[in-house]
C-alpha cells in the first residue's frame, strides 16, 4: 500500500513537471518557429510545425533595420552601469562589512530602498533634470539611473559575501603594510569571485531588460534594444510583422539565456538575497 502511494506521488510529480516544462517552453519554441516562417506560413491553419524555413525575417532584421546599432547601445549602457555599480558597490560593501561607521544599518537600508522605488515616480524628475543637464538621449541618461538602482543590489549582496570572509585575513595583510586597495584586489575579490561575477551578470541582465526609463529618457540615438524591439509591433498603419518581431525577440533573449545557463546556480543565490543558506 505504501509503495503504491509513493509511486503514485512520483507519477503525479512527473506529469506535473512535464506539463510545466511544456508550458514554460512552448512560447519560446513557437517564437523560434515563427521567426523562420513567411507571412503566409504564419497564418496557416492548421498551424505548421514542419515547413520549409526561410531566412528572410532574419535577413531583414539584421541587415535592413537599425537593430544592430540598438543592440550595441544596450551593451554599452548595461556594461557601463554594471561596471559602475559593481565598483562603487564593492567599496561601500567593504566599508559596511569591515568598518565601524555610525548608523551603518540606516545607510544600508537607505541604499537598498532605492530598488523599491517605482520607476514611474523617478521618471518625472529625471526627465526635467536631464533636459536641464543636456544629457537626454545620451548613454548617461540611462547609465546614471541604472547604476543607482543596481547599487542597491550589488551592495546588499557583496556585503553579505564579504562578511563571510574572516577579517583576520585583511588585518594581517594590513599589518604587513598593504593598503586597503591591495587588500581588496588581492584578498577580497578572489575570495568572492563567484558571487561577484554572478551579481554582475544579474545586474547586467536587469539593466538590459529595463524598458520604462529607457523608453522615456532616450530618443533615436541612445535607444537600447529593449525599446527598439517595439518597432516590430503593429501600431497604427504599421501592420503585423510576426516574423521580424519573433527574430527581434530571440536576438534579445539570447544573451540572457546564455548568461543564465552558465551562472544559474549562483544567480539563484542572488535572487534569494542570500536568505536561504544551504
Amino acid at each position: 500500500m505504501i509503495t503504491l502511494r509513493v509511486s503514485l506521488r512520483k507519477w503525479v510529480s512527473w506529469i506535473v513537471l512535464g506539463l510545466f516544462v511544456v508550458w514554460s517552453l512552448f512560447p519560446l519554441f513557437w517564437t523560434v518557429l515563427t521567426s523562420f516562417k513567411t507571412i503566409g506560413q504564419v497564418y496557416a491553419v492548421p498551424p505548421l510545425i514542419v515547413f520549409p524555413p526561410t531566412l528572410d525575417n532574419w535577413d531583414y532584421v539584421i541587415r535592413y533595420t537599425e537593430f544592430p546599432r540598438f543592440y550595441l547601445n544596450t551593451l554599452i549602457i548595461a556594461g557601463l552601469s554594471t561596471l559602475l555599480s559593481m565598483t562603487l558597490g564593492l567599496f561601500i560593501a567593504y566599508a559596511l562589512a569591515r568598518f565601524d561607521i555610525k548608523r551603518k544599518d540606516d545607510i544600508a537600508f537607505f541604499i537598498l530602498s532605492q530598488r523599491i522605488i517605482p520607476p514611474a515616480t523617478l521618471v518625472i524628475p529625471f526627465y526635467v533634470l536631464f533636459i536641464t543637464l543636456g544629457i537626454m538621449d545620451t548613454y548617461w541618461a540611462l547609465i546614471l539611473p541604472y547604476s543607482v538602482v543596481n547599487l542597491a543590489f550589488s551592495t546588499w549582496i557583496l556585503r553579505s559575501l564579504i562578511e563571510e570572509i574572516p577579517s583576520e585575513l585583511d588585518d594581517s595583510a594590513l599589518l604587513d603594510g598593504a593598503s586597503i586597495l591591495d587588500v581588496l584586489r588581492e584578498i577580497i575579490v578572489p575570495q568572492i569571485s563567484i558571487g561577484f561575477v554572478a551579481t554582475a551578470v544579474f545586474i547586467f541582465a536587469l539593466s538590459s531588460n529595463e524598458y520604462f526609463l529607457a523608453s522615456l529618457l532616450t530618443g533615436y540615438r541612445a535607444r537600447p534594444v529593449s525599446v527598439a524591439v517595439t518597432m516590430f509591433l503593429p501600431v497604427g498603419v504599421r501592420g503585423a510583422m510576426p516574423g521580424p518581431a519573433s527574430v527581434a525577440s530571440i536576438l534579445m533573449l539570447l544573451p540572457s539565456m546564455m548568461l543564465f545557463t552558465f551562472f544559474q546556480r549562483y544567480i539563484v543565490r542572488g535572487l534569494t538575497f542570500g536568505i536561504v543558506r544551504r
Binding site: 514554460s24 561601500i92 523599491i116 514611474a120 526627465y127 547599487l151 529593449s226
Partner: protein
C-alpha cells in the same frame, strides 16, 4: 578616511535619487505643465484632486486586482511545482530541469509581452487557431475588456511562477531531514506532513517572497504598455501607466507628481512590512 569609501556611492545616490525625489515633492505642490511658461505654487490641491479623480481609483483598482490575483497564484503554483521537483530524487535531472523551468524569469518583460501578444493575436495567434480547431470562434483577447486583464495576468503568472518555484525549492531542501524522517516514522499522511512539518518551515520564506513579488507587481508597466496599452478603454490601466499618461500625454507634470507620490506611499508601506519580515527571518 573610512568615509571616503562610501562617499562616491553616496554621492551618486544623492545626486541621482535624492535630488530628483525632492524635486518630485516640490513639483507635486505646483501646477507645472509641460509647455506652460508659468508655474504657481498651489499647495495640496493636486493631492486632493487625485483623490477625486475616477481614473486614479480605476488604476488603483486595476493594479490591486492584478497584484492580488497574480501573486497568490504564482505562489501556490510555484509551491506545487517545487514540491513536485523535490519528489524527483534524481540529482542530475534536477540540474538539467532547473534552468529550463526557471528561464522565464530572466526574460525581458517587453519581449515576453511581445511573444505572448503574437500568441494571442486574433488572426494568426496559435491560441485562437487552436480554439478554431476545436470549433470555437476566435476571441480578440487583447481588445476584449473581459479577457485583456486575464491575458495580462496570465503572462505575469507565466513569467514569475518560476521565481517562487526557485526560492521555495531552496527552502524545501533546507528543511532538516530529521523532521521528514520523523514524519515518515510516525506514519503521517502527505497532507499532514505538509501542514505540520513543511509549511511552518517555509512560512517565513513564503512571506518574504510574497512581499517582494507584491511590491514588483504594483510597479508593473512594461507588459501592459506592450500588450494592451491600458486598454481596451481603461480596463488594464494600472497606476504606473496612468502616471505615464498624465505626465506625457496630458503634460500635467505637477498632477502626475502627486499621483506618483501616492504610488510611492503604497510601495513604501509594503516595503516597511518587508523590512520587518526580513528582520524576523534573519533571526
Amino acid at each position: 578616511m573610512k568615509y571616503l569609501f562610501i562617499l562616491p556611492g553616496l554621492l551618486l545616490v544623492l545626486f541621482v535619487v535624492v535630488y530628483p525625489t525632492a524635486f518630485l515633492y516640490y513639483t507635486s505642490l505646483t501646477d507645472f505643465r509641460m509647455g506652460r511658461p508659468a508655474t504657481h505654487f498651489i499647495g495640496l490641491d493636486n493631492f486632493i484632486k487625485v483623490l477625486g479623480d475616477p481614473f486614479f481609483w480605476n488604476s488603483l483598482r486595476a493594479t490591486v486586482v492584478f497584484a492580488l490575483t497574480t501573486v497568490p497564484i504564482e505562489c501556490i503554483l510555484g509551491l506545487l511545482i517545487a514540491m513536485a521537483c523535490a519528489n524527483i530524487r534524481s540529482e542530475r535531472l534536477s540540474t538539467i530541469l532547473r534552468p529550463i523551468l526557471v528561464f522565464p524569469v530572466m526574460l525581458t518583460p517587453v519581449v515576453v509581452g511581445m511573444i505572448w501578444v503574437i500568441l494571442f493575436n486574433p488572426d494568426y495567434g496559435i491560441v485562437n487557431i487552436a480554439l478554431n480547431m476545436f470549433g470555437l470562434t476566435s476571441i480578440p483577447f487583447v481588445s476584449d475588456p473581459f479577457w485583456a486583464p486575464i491575458v495580462v495576468a496570465l503572462v505575469d503568472v507565466w513569467q514569475w511562477t518560476p521565481f517562487f518555484m526557485l526560492i521555495l525549492t531552496s527552502g524545501l531542501y533546507a528543511i532538516p531531514s530529521e523532521y521528514l524522517e520523523t514524519a515518515k516514522v510516525d506514519r503521517l499522511t502527505s497532507w499532514m506532513t505538509f501542514r505540520y512539518v513543511i509549511l511552518p518551515f517555509l512560512l517565513p520564506l513564503i512571506t518574504f517572497t510574497l512581499l517582494v513579488r507584491l511590491i514588483d507587481a504594483f510597479k508593473i508597466y512594461d507588459v501592459i504598455y506592450i500588450m494592451t496599452y491600458g486598454g481596451p478603454g481603461i480596463s488594464t490601466e494600472v497606476l504606473s501607466f496612468r502616471i505615464w499618461k498624465n505626465m506625457f500625454l496630458e503634460r500635467s507634470v505637477g498632477y502626475a507628481a502627486a499621483f506618483s507620490i501616492y504610488l510611492l506611499l503604497i510601495v513604501v508601506i509594503l516595503a516597511n512590512l518587508l523590512q520587518k519580515v526580513i528582520k524576523k527571518v534573519m533571526r
